[in-house]
Assembly symmetry: D2
Homo-oligomer: 333 residues x 4
């Protein structure tokens, strides 16, 4: 049984609270949020208690682990506190929007020896994981081309976008991680184009809402990633992996199973109305993987260092967008 | 808040226990089973208590409703006890394998005035319900033809089949109910062919494992129902409704979303490995509908009398199988 | 090289003329039609000549074969003339609407020893043929259930229907033939329901436009056939074969390859607008099979006797519709 | 009626010969090939005559048009001869592998005033054309992202590749043309990555077999194009167009319609075994469009200048591959 505290009681925090409360091997004890009332409400809903301060969590010998789902700018500090307290830590990505801060945080945490995992939940999508297994087992021969599609149904609030780090660091980063994880090697070059089409106003702070990234792997394999904030037709996420002997596809998923055929066309359900409906099961699965690693003393399912990698790729994408060149990806720590 | 007792702690009882425990408007109090240990184990798992006897349930002023999921031969007796006790009752189908006993039970329960529902859970399949809505809203014009497919992946144990009442009363009956519910009128004639192909030994007690039923509705609309116990390829359930202006389809559902394309073929996931994976959500939904009817004092979502209808159809199917004729369906009470 | 005459210059005759003219091993010589101008026009279009009378065909030592695509009531007489003349004959179904006449015609033709084929063109649909191969090779284990769907987009003219022999003899007969051909054995019992839903006026002459037929094979395998004259959504033909180890499907075919996904739904092309768009390639293929049989002196690809079988099934379906019973199928000659 | 000569009697010439012979408004007169026997054989097959020399074609007042399907290095010279002779010309792409030669040829031909068309046959794919219509009619709102996939089943002979101009000029150029044609504006920047994965030996002459191109349009819309010479699973071509209000897709097309479902998976037919099976109908359609333009004196369906555009894009892709930068596309004449 792992005794957990949760930091952050916002939307995603409430998802984690539900999963923590339902997990048979988790004793969900404390919730902290800068908004104390929000923490109390969420804690009450799941039989946990609200922590009055972070000190209640990090100076507490009745805890094993902390789930850091607070605002992005506090991830690094909370990770360091967990390292100091000797608590295992599962942290939402990114470690820090500033790559240098992220690197020094990872180095600090690694020295502490705590078990830490960055929450790239999409790796736990069952279809994506099955595709990766096919690739790694050689079912498509040797990998030649990856195509990853990430398209959200509607623009997030501009305020969210302003503090998100931009489309490459916030949205594409998940797919840089998936591409690297599926390929099993780190890409060496990236090129990116991007435009602010759905929300021209976000160009003012240098962001884009429609972008394509091209990746080159050391053995010559290639990847294409298209990211769109606003589709107008629903949430659309899928992956293709083409190899020397075949193609594996984690398909676009529809939200319904009824077709209506009339004179002029066949109508089927559209896609999921929002990203959360599609990825919800991955959160419980990623938590389970972390808890299993704690219970059985396994390696972290996704190390912080792996989190740095996709952040380094995103950083190079941002550079490419402004330089107009393809950029070498710098993974140095 | 509705205070519930559950009778029956077998496989399906354990499904109901989970749903009762999770429902926000249900106070799940008691579990009874002829196997006391089984009742205790299931009760403990969900924070309920084991009832030592049926009397603990039917002579108990701290209960509002009972969920009857005991063996088929006790359904009628438990319904009568619920009627006597004034407890609302949700009962697994059938009311009784013997149609005359079922009829007299329904008459008895109706006189008591309790709210009672027969659990034709497939009506709560979201795709089937959406198809029905399309039909009833006129999206396909006037109904001409229904095609219902019910195919299980593997033969149930022969012992189960022996006491099941046979394929028409046990499996097809769900689809007779769906056909009637979608059409909105009661069929008047039925013809059935059936064979014992997967398990020739069940022919000894008059059962079949592969059957086709043809229904004629009063306005001339038709229905085809094919029922198979053993497909060898997974659980396959779907419905088509053809009308004067179009076709609506509740599609065959696949259990996965990954395709592998190689030189000679495209491979996709097969179907669900068992019926329960496919229909599981319908059990929670049917319970919710019943609880809602109790909370808001609505009519029973599926009256016992509706349960009699599909049983009358199954009875006529059995007659047709032996007579070789199409048979009129007798709905008289 | 086979020297052919064509009898019948109507719509289907013009299809055959095109195929005769294009076939590398056919010398297309003569066209006869009771409407001489129609014959002349069709002949001119394809480099053939118009025959002034049937005698030009049946008393002509420069011919090897005749394609009989005249009106149904002249099939039998033309077959007898071909038999007398020693010409190979490919005849549109049915041999005669009257089963007794058809039987005596077949007996007469068989005595003559000419090579004769009844044109059940759907056997040459490449998808249906592939499904049959899968069934016959054991890819689905032993056959348990066939489901055949035949749905036309729009009601043919009532005048056509009046002389068609009715839905069972005119439309369903193709699918009785396919079912028998796929199963590889002859069904022994049939039950049919039918209604005049799209065109209530055809009930006056005993016809139906929506029907379901149930077939029982000697080994207990079953078949369902649904036939609809008017779907409102396009031409819909498909076949499923379920066996002890799997399912083979000749799928519903769409006429386009473009999908449009918008907020509320995904729109795909509907089905073929008419039956001919779907089955056109089968006519060239059936002609090729016949020519091949002539060139290489092979057995007739589909003997007249096989044509009688499906007609006998249709006859029993008609009896079942009026008797309300399932009927034994009488294949006696 | 348009009197045509064909130059080139190789594989693609024989396709054009068939289409010329079948077209009702074409009088197919002459075939020229440097291999006289090949020309004679093809001419004889289609009722045309072999031309002894190019002079028989370009000094011949009995011709209206010439179809130039000779080897790539003779396209420009044959176009100039057609211009001098006043013959309309339909020419296979590219006009010349050398962009400067192509430009001067276009200028020369334009001065002559003959009607000339470059044969980007894929624009006549019915599904691609339908997708373009949806885009141009605003069915997906304003265009944001195009994704074009071009994947051949097997590596062409290395000798062919050596003289092909490389993957960008030979294969991708079709999709640069489609992207420009669908978007309705010319892209301004391109970035390309490419690798020789299936045939490492082609890297010796600077070619690649797996490449991804990224295009930026002036209004910020983006396009991704992936080109693969060898898939191992069949020919795979499709297009997606994403806009502000929806998605249109010209789908991956399968070559069959039979599915086999067994215990572990559903097997469907794979894709077309080669590119020609998929695109064959486009050749007849593009010829028809050209003939129509001649008969009705319409503008050329695809001007030579449009042919230069996609060649300029390919040229920039080649530069990008070696520079590692995104490159501006130079459309100057």
């Amino acid at each position: 049984m792992q005794r957990f505290a949760l930091i952050g009681a916002g939307f995603i925090g409430s998802v984690h609270a539900q999963n923590l409360a339902s997990h048979p091997d988790v004793d969900f004890r404390l919730v902290y949020d800068i908004d104390v009332q929000r923490a109390s409400a969420l804690a009450a809903q799941h039989g946990a208690k609200a922590a009055a301060s972070l000190d209640d969590i990090f100076n507490n010998d009745q805890l094993d682990a902390v789930f850091i789902a607070s605002s992005t700018d506090s991830h690094a500090q909370n990770l360091r506190l967990a390292a100091d307290a000797g608590l295992a830590a599962l942290v939402e990505k990114p470690i820090d929007l500033d790559l240098e801060t992220a690197k020094s945080t990872v180095a600090y945490v690694e020295r502490s020896g705590i078990k830490a995992m960055v929450n790239f939940n999409r790796r736990f999508d069952s279809a994506h994981a099955e595709l990766r297994d096919l690739v790694r087992q050689g079912s498509i021969g040797s990998l030649a081309l990856l195509q990853l599609t990430s398209r959200g149904p509607a623009l997030p609030p501009v305020d969210y976008l302003k503090s998100s780090g931009g489309q490459f660091r916030d949205q594409a980063v998940h797919f840089y991680d998936l591409a690297t994880w599926i390929a099993g090697v780190d890409p060496v070059q990236i090129h990116a184009f991007g435009s602010a089409l759905a929300a021209p106003e976000i160009a003012e702070f240098g962001d884009v809402d429609t972008s394509i990234s091209s990746l080159l792997f050391p053995d010559g394999a290639l990847a294409q990633i298209d990211c769109v904030r606003h589709t107008g037709y629903g949430y659309d996420e899928r992956i293709e992996a083409l190899g020397s002997e075949g193609l594996a596809e984690s398909e676009r998923q529809r939200s319904g199973h009824v077709t209506l055929v009339r004179k002029e066309h066949a109508r089927s359900h559209g896609l999921h109305g929002n990203w959360f409906d599609r990825v919800k099961p991955t959160y419980a699965a990623s938590l389970s993987a972390f808890v299993k690693a704690l219970e059985e003393d396994l390696d972290s399912p996704i190390t912080l260092r792996e989190g740095l990698k996709s952040q380094a790729i995103a950083q190079a994408a941002v550079r490419s967008l402004s330089s107009g060149h393809s950029e070498a990806i710098d993974y140095s720590l």
